[in-house]
Symmetry: C2
Subunit: 554 residues, 2 copies
């Protein structure tokens, strides 16, 4: 599809998955890495690869002599050689040497981001112990002491809890220059993969939530189960950050969400990233394919998710036993929607990334259930209940409607459907209603149940401001026996429908919402069928009882 040959600095799992994507497009790739049997080399037999370190200037030059485009699967490379090669003009370098240079020094990266108006935690250079002491005074304790370079997976970071820690922290991180960063008490970590063409075009993947364990990425939840507002903000920050760099390729942007909803960019990787593995099974185009497309200046592929929900689990070595690594994989073989990726590494070591498992499903409820046995095989001691984004919203005009509406809420709870419940009054909080209705679809809701009595404007007004199906529950008031509410809710003008159920019957509203979800979520539809079967069974039991006891004694 493209006659340019690609050279990759580094032949680990990221390089391997790049090669996988490249092969499907008939693209030629040559790998530079020390091991003869590096993961990426194993699945590319048409080229003569180069054995050598990916930061060895001579070897990089040797690779450059064989290809048209150079790229990296790791940022800790010799950026100066890349800059020289770029300047000579024969071979393209993506992302650009200057991008790699800025990013590989985390202090320079922070300066670059701050200068470009991207929100980051406060930080300060600490050339000596006095400066570290000053940082403690400025930021308070704890704060982070960080290596400027060669840091990844938590290596190069030290939590300084008090003045007494400073000496030890500086000794531990003595190999590289340091800077200090204000402690960021985040509530969640998010990540966004952004792909960039050399012309500046960017496309971002969905915002995901990352859960780290011992500073290494453990789980990636896609999409992140946070509000639509936070999703939007994170996406904009990530895209804006990547627009400030030059060159092409995919970038991983890691962020913190603070208690007040503020988002701080933590760091950027100028390459495919662990938090983007899920894109292979869950998105239209994988991060690897989009990286290849970007560096070859081909059109970028869609970054949309093609499945409703996905979770990725990293498989790390726990010892030198490969068998222990295979334990979660063996669970995955028994799990619907789970795909195993092993990286072909011959030796297992504690902490080594040996593979990953991606689980997809028709809903996050399902994916979470599927994850359980796999996770249990890795960490039997820990329960990780996820907070899921609500799929159904229940609103009512007044707390006096709650006794009627809570019956429906209980049904949703019994079915295990994540939902939210609040008071939204058309007449007393009109602007809150507007905001609720207009944001509902973006927040991930699939249906809204609105209960109202009397004039009962809420369901119809909400329906007028959302494309979602709105279910109206006429609540019986003191007069007119609920017929006033019923007619107010059901007799909507042509153009805006409200799905009206019987007076005071929030049970049926909830069941209708579940049927709506079930239209696209097979397991929910199955639950509904079982519920109906159970109802039938209950009535048939009464038939039996009536037959046995007789109508007079019933």
């Amino acid at each position: 599809m493209n006659n340019q040959k690609v050279g990759i600095l580094g032949g680990g799992q990221l390089g391997r998955m790049m090669v996988e994507a490249a092969s499907r497009l008939n693209l030629e790739v040559i790998i530079l890495d020390a091991p003869e049997n590096a993961p990426a080399k194993q699945i590319e037999a048409t080229q003569s690869h180069i054995s050598g370190a990916f930061n060895d200037a001579a070897k990089i030059r040797e690779l450059a002599g064989k290809v048209d485009v150079l790229t990296v699967e790791i940022e800790h490379v010799d950026a100066q050689v890349l800059a020289d090669i770029e300047n000579e003009g024969k071979v393209k370098v993506h992302p650009s040497a200057s991008t790699v240079k800025v990013i590989q020094d985390k202090f320079v990266q922070k300066n670059h981001l701050r200068a470009n108006g991207i929100p980051v935690a406060a930080y300060v250079e600490t050339p000596n112990s006095n400066a570290v002491l000053e940082a403690g005074k400025q930021f308070g304790y704890p704060f982070m002491l960080k290596s400027k370079t060669l840091a990844y997976d938590g290596r190069g970071n030290y939590v300084v809890k008090s003045e007494a820690d400073i000496k030890c922290a500086m000794e531990t991180l003595s190999k590289t220059p340091l800077y200090a960063e204000k402690w960021a008490p985040f509530t969640k970590e998010l990540a966004v993969m952004v792909v960039r063409r050399a012309n500046g075009e960017v496309r971002s993947y969905p915002v995901v939530e990352t859960i780290h364990k011992n500073s290494v990425c453990h789980l990636v939840i896609a999409p992140a189960q946070v509000s639509g507002e936070v999703l939007k903000k994170a996406q904009v920050i990530a895209e804006n950050a990547i627009k400030t760099f030059t060159g092409a390729g995919i970038f991983g942007v890691e962020m913190f969400v603070m208690k007040d909803g503020e988002i701080l960019l933590n760091e950027i990787a100028p390459r495919p990233h662990n938090s983007g593995h899920y894109t292979i099974e869950a998105c239209d185009t994988s991060q690897y394919e989009n990286h290849m497309r970007a560096i070859l200046d081909m059109p970028l592929g869609s970054t949309a998710m093609k499945v409703p929900a996905s979770i990725m689990v990293n498989i790390l070595g726990t010892s030198d036993s490969m068998e222990l690594c295979y334990r979660p994989c063996k669970e995955a073989l028994l799990t619907d929607g789970a795909t195993i990726h092993l990286y072909g590494k011959k030796e297992c070591r504690a902490g080594r990334k040996m593979g990953h498992i991606t689980i997809v499903g028709e809903s996050m409820m399902q994916v979470q259930k599927r994850l359980k046995p796999i996770l249990h095989a890795i960490e039997p001691e820990i329960e990780r209940p996820l907070t899921l984004r609500p799929l159904v919203g229940i609103i009512m005009g007044s707390d006096s409607d709650l006794p009627v509406m809570k019956v429906g809420a209980q049904i949703l709870k019994n079915f295990g459907i994540p939902f939210e419940l609040s008071i939204v009054s058309a007449h007393r909080t009109p602007m809150r209603m507007v905001e609720y209705a207009q944001s509902a679809a973006d927040r991930g809701l699939m249906a809204i149940i609105a209960g109202a009595g009397g004039a009962a404007h809420l369901p119809g007004m909400v329906a007028a401001m959302t494309p979602l199906p709105v279910i109206g529950v006429p609540v019986k008031g003191t007069h007119l026996d609920g017929v006033d509410s019923l007619h107010s809710i059901v007799q909507m003008p042509r153009g805006i429908p409200v799905a009206t159920v019987a007076i005071n019957n929030s049970t049926n509203a909830a069941l209708l919402a579940i049927r709506i979800l079930g239209a696209s979520i097979p397991s929910v539809q199955k639950q509904m069928s079982e519920y109906m079967k159970q109802m039938e069974g209950e009535v048939l039991q009464k038939v039996d009882k009536l037959d046995n006891v007789g109508w007079e004694n019933y």
Copy 2:
């Protein structure tokens, strides 16, 4: 994940995609095929592959000496050597040698299937021209003359249109023994991939529709856009057929659907199949991974689709120009949800399978739209409108309700939503109603709109027998102004909801159905938002007009 080494006879694209699946599971694979750079060898650099024909007994023995399990990517291999190896007991052969032997002779295959009660077209052995003449008398013209062996992609088949064709047919097919088959005037071709473990466990993938061009698979539509009844029948026949064989692996089962709904099994491939390529992007587990799992006696993976709809297009060489092959691929690069698979073949020839493109999407409507430009790049002269399965069912108690209900039908048509419309009366055709309601979900409907007047039992009775959301339209009768219908429809007992809209307002019923679809199909939700924006615009125009003309002249 498994210490057994696999040897594959054949290193074409099917072998290549098997290797891709194997690498992700850390499985070791050795390829036997003549070309040094066979597609499958290109992506497996950890083994020493064997150069030689996959039907060369000595080479097969050489491969057997290096592996634990032998499998095939093509059935035209030396089955006797496989049988000998199997009998020696050191190396497993999957599927079994006898399975390969039965399937590779299409006449023997037919005998086997007929003997096991699988429906096939009438056929007869034709050892000489007299027998062919007799076949013509028995079956009438046209009939098919077929090679027993070495037939694929339509090669080895001859349509005998009249007695005068017989001589030419026999000369054309002179290289192998022949049999005659009754002409099967099918309406559609279906295919099902079935994976079988050695213990007899089978799992089938969704039924797909295949469209051939010059007897070569051109398009694969998943799921097949046929009724639920036909889907079920095809699946059962395919599973039953595969249960009759021995050994493990994936099988492609091709079938004809006749005018009367009867299904005839056409032929079986004992290996991954073109009609299963789509499983890589569209299913939980690809046919290739499930083949590897099956032959290694590992648990089978889920065969469910993970996306709502998919279409696969084959990329065939049209000449020796690779550029022409890349033309549809270049369209695919611009198409959301399209994934390109090129097979690494260095030389292009007319008719050669060079790659394929799989398109996925949130609905078959969307996939069909996405397919268009790609297909246009292959066959600009042909329009291929697909008949899509309905997503919404409109039913009414009587044709007298049609004037009210057709307004809603027009809305669905305008939105491009495939729907069906019929008369189903609760009181006059009760059993038809039961059948309609009970089959609705299996037939692929996502919502039902039911219109009824007076006692108006239809919506509620249908809702009682389906887990789908049912929308009720109260139709106004001669008395009571429609309030009778409204109350009959809306006042459902707890347990069975009907989404009731305003009296006679089938417009809102259709819009509600569209909102329900939109809850899981983003592009439909987007259409709904645009529709609402347009409505707003129309009213605002009237505001302007009123301002300009004045209320007295309006």
